[in-house]
Amino acid sequence: MLDDSNAKAMTIIVTKGTLDWAYPPFILATTAAAMGIETTMFFTFYGLQLLKKDLNPRINPLGNASMEMPMAGGHMAMPNIIAAMPGMTALTTNMMKNMLKKKGVASIEELRELAIDADVKMIACQMTMDLFEYKREDMIDGPELGGAASWVDVAAKSDINLYI
């Protein structure tokens, strides 16, 4: 068990912002925090989307041959030519959200809120902010802005460092 004498820390580099990939970092961060591990998330490139006030992670199976959906007792993948049609991102995002809700999986909004409540430290990549021309006010309050050195500083003192 962990106590003051063997406290552990974890960092997660969050690089993806689609609805599916938004889950692993928030699930692991909230769980680690609940288990007494000091947790830091560093949001860079598309992961930065997950810090937006207007949070809207989406998904499209285009080019993802492993994305099958349970259907009529089996599993079906959407052909790329169909996934490429206009409106498919909205449709598949809706389908995925309905499935997540039906299976009792929390929403990304809820997990992000729980991560903040559990004092998970969040760093937004300043370079990505500049690159994609995001403003500080586009993002939720709380995360601080920093660069690679900010992550390395925390990671060097951490026991678990993940790149997702």
Partner: protein, 75 residues
């Protein structure tokens, strides 16, 4: 009889653990929390949670589709 009951039925990973942590935090040391869940992954996860946090997993039972855990707040 546990001091408090948490109904986490229908919730999927990681919600039963997060809700349990919140409930334990509000309980005094030595108090017990009963958790009801339907997520089969919770069996292994509550063991792991208690192992790391030092809370005591007093019992872990299954009744049909429902899993029942009793945790003593010692961590």
């Amino acid at each position: 009889m546990a001091d408090e009951v948490l109904d986490a039925k229908g919730m999927n990973c990681p919600m039963p653990i997060l809700k349990a942590k919140k409930a334990l935090k509000a309980l005094p040391t030595g108090a017990t929390l009963e958790i009801l869940a339907t997520d089969p992954g919770a069996v292994k996860d509550f063991e792991a949670f208690c192992n790391t946090t030092g809370n005591e997993l007093m019992s872990s039972e299954q009744d049909g589709n429902v899993y029942k855990f009793v945790i003593k707040h010692t961590g």
